[in-house]
Symmetry: C2
């Protein structure tokens, strides 16, 4: 249950529920429902009443900030028939945080240490609002701050270990196969008979996002041993049918799979980006340890930069245009040389909404890959609006890069 | 109401609800609750029953895909006491899509044109699953695909105009003031008396995200004229108190506000990025029309690249280290020259989890800004994990950039 008018008005996207769902699944708790409700006391109470009918555990985030629209703590105190009291260890912790950052402590900050008298306080190591654990007539309620990194820390430090201790449920097993480069329905057609033959306690779901599709097998305990082993034994058929699109058999990002291949083959990489504007570099460097193989990038938005920094020929630009396979190949090759890397990838495209020419539509994207032995390129046209065009170009380029690296024998 | 086990398992973040909340607010419909439920028919039905008690309009996304775990359509047909039938215009549309992309059409794709017999079909211009509008005992139910860009198109093309026609509600007015560079509680302290004096029909909310805080005034109709004008008349006090942190008085991204300043002052910009790995360039180029002022970037992850491409001196790196104000100043100045831009910004930091040295902790970030007349720099330490460290560094740099540009008189 996430609390806050900002969620209902759509001014904040609820990412907390997804994190909690993932973590609860790992310890064998199934999320029955996610609800986002307003900051109004009556609506919070109505949602608490419904949630306790539905579930044994109700996790609540939000509404614990220091400002006037943050009501959760007051509502919970009233709901559980108690009052707010000052929690001294929390007060010391809040004071310590303000001392550390050398900031003046305001009265609203002191009030962060007020908690309902009948809760168990969960120490928030990275923020001022503590977690609060209530046991009420057989239902556990836990209130956490809405700030994602504080909620995550409270989940990891306190909530998940306590739930594991308190409940003894048959675990749910997940096996995830990550694919990229083929749409959901085409994947489904290639594995329809395999899917039909799955045992009744194992379900398959297709989870598409940005040109990638996660295949998720969910197994529920059936009384027989080694559920996970039996699920893994289903994978060889998948590999045979759709192996060229699989980049990992665990929950991992495409850029992390690419990083593993680069590291294992001892290759360095760089990018030359026009339409993606640095997104490919940002994704590659999002992987911890990427500095071992990622050297740098040239974001060449202006044609001058393409020529000066990447050595794209004026003639190529004049003859084929900036958005062309010829240009993007020279960008990739130029990046290899300038950045001194083994592998370089490049993008050029018309992200839109402006920029279309007589011969090139918005959504036209050219991609290239270059290594010591070859340069390959492709062009496609697909317009879904500027932001998605850029996201999709980056995903397509990383897909191309992964396929090339996977083919290279280390 | 969003449907899908993937939401409950946390494998997909529900971004649809936020979009719908924003758009509904604009036409004066208040979202009462957001619910995410599983793909199980009984849970979908239970959620429909509850939703109709709570609201006059129930918008549903998800579960309309071509695969076996997509049940929504079947459940809705049953719930509204009817059967699925083939909708010929939709079938033609699906066939047309497959012809256009020259892809083989599968039987599951044909089934996308099956709809409950008593719904009004809403044409999905950008996908194969149509929207479905039901009126049932005074409640409107609308089912849309879960794919965000398809849902958005259906909302814009059909759902919002139809809702506007059908309902006649007092509009909610929102006035949003965007700030960056000061935390929520410090902003709150600076404007506490102003907030206390707000009329009862105008509420203030603080919406923090990544170092920025949106201040949202929400006004509900009070029978007096010109609600919006009276809300805007509240802003001069805000400007006086916290003007230096305000970058826009409308819902806009910091990078868009920066783009406006650059364009109006006729300045070009480039970036030199180490720890942010291209994210600052990606954000700046996310603004439509940014090619008018953004020329390019050097992502200099490896020290060799900092020297070769940005002219950072070996001596500086040896004496102060790559993560130092001295280095980042040279990066910004080097980028100005190499990219031929008026303004350049630079980052260097230890994003973590590895990379700490004897003298520099994980979370150490150095930022610089350089233009024709000055170079300024700063250093801070704040560790919230790799991804957030990078996000926060980019936000801090853009904040610094905005403040400098705002001070420059055009």
């Amino acid at each position: 249950m996430t609390i806050g008018d900002e969620l209902l008005y759509g001014q904040v996207v609820d990412t907390n529920s997804a994190f909690m769902g993932q973590e609860l699944g790992k310890i064998g708790l199934r999320v029955r429902q996610i609800s986002s409700v307003s900051d109004r006391a009556d609506e919070i109470v109505a949602a608490l009443d419904l949630a306790r009918q539905r579930a044994q555990v109700v996790l609540i985030t939000g509404g614990l900030g220091p400002t006037k629209d943050d009501l959760t703590k007051h509502v919970l105190a009233h709901y559980f028939g108690t009052e707010l009291m000052m929690h001294e260890p929390t007060l010391h912790h809040v004071e310590e945080i303000f001392r550390r950052y050398d900031r003046p402590m305001l009265d609203v900050n002191r009030q962060q240490a007020l908690v309902p008298a009948n809760c168990t306080v969960l120490h928030n190591a990275v923020g001022t609002a503590p977690g609060m654990w209530f046991s009420d007539q057989g239902t556990v309620f836990v209130s956490m701050p809405g700030v994602p990194f504080e909620m995550k820390r409270l989940m990891t430090d306190h909530v998940l270990p306590r739930l594991q201790t308190q409940f003894d449920l048959a675990p749910i097993e997940h096996v995830v196969v990550m694919t990229t480069g083929l749409g959901e329905s085409f994947l489904a057609a290639k594995i329809a008979d395999w899917e039909d033959a799955l045992p009744p306690n194992i379900k398959l779901a297709y989870l598409p996002s940005f040109g990638a599709v996660r295949l998720r097998l969910t197994g529920t305990a059936d009384g027989l041993p080694d559920l996970r082993g039996r699920m893994l034994a289903l994978l060889p058929v998948l590999r045979e049918r759709i192996g060229e699109y699989i980049f990992a058999e665990e929950e991992t990002a495409l850029e992390a799979a690419i990083g593993k291949l680069l590291a294992s083959r001892n290759l360095t990489i760089g990018t030359a980006e026009s339409c993606t504007g640095g997104l490919v570099a940002h994704r590659l460097t999002g992987v911890p340890g990427s500095s071992a193989y990622f050297r740098g990038s040239i974001v060449a938005y202006h044609n001058d930069i393409k020529q000066q920094e990447l050595g794209v020929k004026a003639e190529t630009l004049a003859r084929f245009g900036a958005v062309s396979e010829a240009t993007v190949r020279e960008m990739a090759e130029g990046a290899r040389q300038r950045l001194g890397v083994d592998v370089a990838v490049a993008t050029s495209g018309i992200a839109g909404p402006g920029g279309a020419t007589d011969t090139k539509k918005v959504g036209t994207v050219c991609l290239a890959y270059a290594d010591a032995t070859q340069t390959i390129s492709k062009e496609y046209v697909l317009d879904r609006g500027r932001a998605l065009n850029v996201d999709y170009a980056a995903q397509s380029l990383l897909t191309m890069l992964h396929q090339q690296l996977a083919q290279k024998r280390g």
